[in-house]
Symmetry: C2
Subunit: 694 residues, 2 copies
């Protein structure tokens, strides 16, 4: 025993008041069971435990050894978990990597930038009903989106400077507009993150499927899909694989590994720039033509304002993910705000350029959406079906999967903030083995996967749900900023209010357009879901508040130092197991009685005789139940005792057989469990199992 241990014992009250001093140090020599020997027998080896290290008197820290299970099932589970998500990390190992602008663009920008992979396609899908000529409108809706994006980006730059600690819509709205606004923003954001996962992954899978179809494997995919249930097509299978992969990766805690994300992001940026560059060059030299002639579309509907608004709404999804940078300001290298703002500008510029470029090329070639994605069609026209095309498709898939990963960083983080504020179950605030918010990650993975299966991995159907949440969050955030500037009224506050005010008004208008045009297509689901989710938030909040209030209200009552304990020993027979239960009862209270519930009188009398022989002083109550129900009469008896003596704390002691195997449990009564359940709602009744191992 070293000096420190001696302190431990010396500085604490010992056996005099309560207990014995050797409660204290779990590091003191512990005896290890020898193979086959029982504790208490002689064959025991004395060994110093390595499970804990001493921190200060009475404080011990668990070592990695202490969290490694020792039984083989536990160990097997622990190892499997180790293989899947890695060995547990200590809390202090949380990394606080600061991101360079280059890495930050990959981590926070991939969500927004990746949107251009499907935004053009979605616009064209709306316009397709008005015939080939109408497809040209898509370029102009892209232009409108790009202008809107620059305004939003500009307004978010202000948020970044005002909230260097990270200004998500939830905190900005909650701080400036109140609880309800904050919760509405939070609901919108959570929905958004889920849809980011579903849409990005499904679009990423579509890029792979397109490449496979382009390589001439269309028939094989068809055959495979015929063998699968209706909602599980090739795309869905691929998507579920990706969702599983990202979920596992995030449970491992890859959250901030910027370097891994940089590769596909910059590969995409590079190859897309190359494609648009070559495409524009070929356009001007007049050599750009689609691989297959675009189909001749039937004009089902004339071009109308409604159609143009719908096309705009479809294109507006390109702006999803713009908020991510403003959430992540603290992760930037110093000066955080300046670097974040610069990254935001670069991101918005790239996204606008890409969206416009793709829309121009698609319009110029007269492409129409079909089995193959628009991006894939352009890439084949520009690169041919060579290695450049495949690299481009892989990069597209890569950035889309990375975009989903952004949601996997944001959803659990927002969930943990909501849990800390008592709006979500507290489990969302617990960090798992690898320091990640496991509950949030798993929830996102499961809901995202479910949506993909429900919508059969169809990006176009999923995307209808998307934009409402995005623009609701934008509006709340900008409106919150307006209030913020009004409250603080610092330097140039008028300009700031103007910028965020314009942002708020514009995003609100887009919100209305999006909600109206997409209402019947699925946006109604979101419009119903947001208030429902807010309701759940408030409900949970109320529950936790009730618990706290109850604890405070009760704390005002004096808790007696000791309770009046009455012990009832359930005595089905007198044997070794019940003798131990009686010994336990005698040890915890002088106030004990044995209760035998019997279905026939003879048994009751036999048990009584046997108990008399063992210890005639123990009061014995026999409850004979001619209806052969063990539990209800016992419950009645306990309730009667309770009603007669409200101060008594009734402790029911049950001798419990412990069996080695689950199937052995089928051969015995499980009275202990049932009694636990039976008295589950009785406040002054405790149930103790005194186990007896065979």
């Amino acid at each position: 025993m070293d000096q420190k241990d001696k302190n431990t014992e010396a500085s604490r009250p010992s056996g005099d008041a309560y207990g014995e001093s050797d409660f204290f140090d779990p590091r003191l020599a512990r005896k290890e069971k020898m193979r086959g020997a029982h504790i208490g027998d002689q064959h025991i080896r004395v060994k110093r435990s390595e499970d804990f290290t001493s921190v200060s008197p009475g404080f011990f820290q668990a070592t990695a050894k202490a969290v490694t299970p020792r039984d083989w099932i536990g160990r097997a589970r622990y190892r499997l978990k180790g293989i899947l998500i890695g060995a547990p990390l200590t809390t202090e190992r949380e990394s606080h990597e600061r991101l360079t602008k280059l890495k930050a663009l990959a981590v926070f920008g991939s969500d927004a930038i990746s949107s251009c992979a499907y935004a053009t396609e979605e616009t064209l899908l709306v316009l397709v009903v008005a015939g080939n000529a109408a497809l040209g409108i898509s370029f102009f809706t892209a232009l409108a989106v790009a202008i809107l994006l620059s305004i939003i980006a500009f307004s978010y730059r202000q948020t970044i400077h005002a909230y260097p600690q990270g200004g998500g819509s939830y905190s900005v709205s909650r701080e400036n507009l109140g609880q309800l606004a904050g919760l509405v923003a939070a609901a919108a954001l959570l929905i958004d993150y889920v849809l980011t996962v579903s849409v990005s992954i499904a679009a990423g899978a579509a890029a792979v499927t397109s490449a496979i179809i382009a390589s001439g494997f269309a028939q094989q995919i068809d055959a495979l899909e015929h063998a699968l249930p209706p909602n599980l097509n090739f795309n869905v299978l691929l998507s579920l694989f990706f969702v599983g992969l990202i979920t596992l990766g995030n449970l491992r805690g890859i959250r901030e590994a910027g370097s891994i994300f940089a590769i596909p992001t910059y590969l995409f940026i590079g190859s897309l720039t190359l494609m648009i560059g070559i495409g524009l060059f070929k356009t001007f030299t007049g050599t750009l033509a689609p691989v297959e002639a675009p189909p001749l579309l039937k004009i089902a509907e004339p071009v109308s304002y409604w159609l143009i608004l719908r096309a705009f709404s479809a294109g507006a999804v390109a702006m999803s993910g713009t908020e991510a940078i403003s959430n992540g300001v603290p992760a930037f290298q110093k000066p955080e705000s300046k670097n974040a703002a610069a990254t935001l500008t670069v991101m918005a510029t790239l996204l606008s350029a890409f969206f416009l470029g793709i829309s121009f090329l698609a319009t110029h070639m007269g492409l129409a959406p079909g089995e193959e994605t628009i991006m894939s069609q352009i890439a084949r026209a520009v690169f041919g079906t060579g290695w450049l095309y495949y690299i481009f498709q892989i990069a597209t898939m890569g950035i889309l999967v990375i975009a989903a990963n952004t949601a996997f960083a944001d959803f659990p983080r927002l969930g943990s903030i909501l849990a800390r504020d008592d709006y979500a179950p507290h489990q969302f605030a617990y960090r798992g083995d690898r320091l990640a918010f496991s509950t949030g990650i798993l929830a996102l993975g499961v809901i995202g996967a479910l949506l993909i299966v429900l919508f059969a991995g169809d990006v176009s159907r999923l995307i209808h749900l998307y934009a409402v949440g995005v623009f609701l969050a934008f509006t709340m955030s900008n409106a919150g900023m307006v209030v913020h500037w009004w409250k603080t009224r610092g330097e140039n506050w008028q300009t700031s209010i103007l910028v965020n005010g314009v942002g708020a008004v514009l995003t609100f208008i887009v919100l209305v357009i999006v909600a109206v045009t997409k209402f019947a297509l699925g946006a109604w689901i979101i419009i119903i879901a947001i208030p429902l989710i807010v309701g759940v938030f408030l409900f949970i909040h109320q529950h936790y508040a009730r618990v706290d209030a109850a604890l405070v209200r009760r704390a005002a009552r004096r808790v007696p130092t000791k309770l009046k304990i009455r012990v009832l020993v359930i005595l089905p027979a007198v044997n070794y197991a019940t003798e131990r239960a009686l010994a336990f009862a005698r040890s915890i209270s002088p106030n004990i009685a044995a209760v035998t519930v019997t279905f026939d009188r003879a048994t009751g009398e036999r048990v009584h005789r046997e108990l008399q022989a063992l210890d005639p002083a123990i009061p014995h109550i026999v409850l004979e139940d001619p209806y052969r129900d063990f539990y209800e009469p016992l419950k009645r008896y306990v309730e009667t005792l309770q009603a007669r003596d409200a101060d008594a704390y009734i402790t029911i002691v049950i001798p419990e057989f412990l069996v080695r195997h689950w199937w052995e449990r089928l051969l015995h009564n499980t009275a202990a469990q049932t009694l636990n359940r039976l008295f589950q709602k009785h406040e002054n009744v405790a149930v103790v199992n005194v186990p007896f191992q065979l």
Copy 2:
């Protein structure tokens, strides 16, 4: 308080040695909660409890009130159960109705007599491959079966006289041939009972289906079956309905209600006698002809000994159920054995006559099995498709369903005997609310229904499994009787041995024939199942023996009067809930300590300060786990304590939140449950939840 109650108090040791005397009488005034008031508050009404009546000092008997749940979920469940199976009955209400021969024939004879409803059909199904001429052989196989039946019946008459307490194959074999033989017979019988249910019910349903087809609804049934999954045809649905009905009826305890059974049984006997009578008359007057001309069969296989043996095996199923009367001797009116023997003779005579009659008519008309049953074809030829035909079909269905009911009386009874002998889980010996062996009834219903679904309600496929068990039980029983006569050697023992010896040899020969001819058709399943079931019996027996041995071995060890209790209070925070847990701990032992498992040091230190403020004398151990695992470090700590002090009984006290609704549980940790599970296999550790109601 009346005189008796005073005795109660006077005659028992009271407060001096243990506890207080008011443990004693649960009938003493109990306080009822007023609406909205808490126990312990003033708003309490004093009321005399009606849950118990006093039997003798310390002995109380529960009234019907005590077994009626008081919470609304419990009450709703209780009421539903009441509607389905009736109100609970007291043990003393077990009826011991003695049956007249007339009723006994219905109760115990229906199984055997009903066999003639499908035995002819099964014989014809075998012969059908050899063309129309071969069908005539069926009469001769029926004759062979009838002769065999009379020999078996004769040998069973001897068993009835030798075992007036009921001589089932299990008890006769076990007593005379040893444990293993008894278990083999028991396994054969259990299989038999299950098959009786499946085959009889499926055949009963087939009678109804035939009647419906005969009424011209074939198309509607076809349409319905197209809409159902492959194994759920019309017959199966009807069968499942009947199985459910009989299961419920038996749970209600209709077991011995002879009168109910008499109606369909005698309706069947009467109408079948009428049919055979009119049939024979028409045969001799030459006016009997099938409604549809019998199909011209293709000769696929010549008539061979093998085919004849197979036809005989198929007909031999008619003998199933012959044993039932010898099982039920004690239920007969006095003189039991004589009446039972007389009933057996009548039963065997009727069955032989019916089987021969049906076979003769079928052969004479040249009927071949098809969609419609042979019985239905004969009945239509004899009665025409009038009301007599329908009555006959309903009677057929009725007796088949009643036959299944015989199995529902026998299977649970045998199950309870096996459970009493420690060969089956003890649950099989418990009587349910209505005094029936509920576990056995439910098990039989479920397995029977499962077999019907698995075999798509096809009587012919099910029946292949049937005869092996029947003849194995016959052989065991007769062989057992031979040994019995040899052991006792009373009057005329030589004759008795001869009779049972001939029975044993004949049934053994038939057993071999049946096993060989039906082996590939399904009998192999039974030949595998019997040793497996016997294995399970022995396994269970060994387990119970091990438990008893352990209790005896341990009983030899001295159990100390008191245990050394060490209490650990889990203290996540200091609040009302944990203060109560501490008070509980102080009340049960002087040897206590508080343990805080924490993931960060600050929390540990805060809890320590708060505990110091509350009660500085309580030793406090803080286990900080940087890996954020609550349970493993706690387990390690407890194991260390245990290893250091093998005599200590460690009691872990957990403050447990009690929530009102299941969904609220999602918002809290369920540490109590997990700890219970965690220390489930630790013999010297008890876990106590000190509940705290919100």
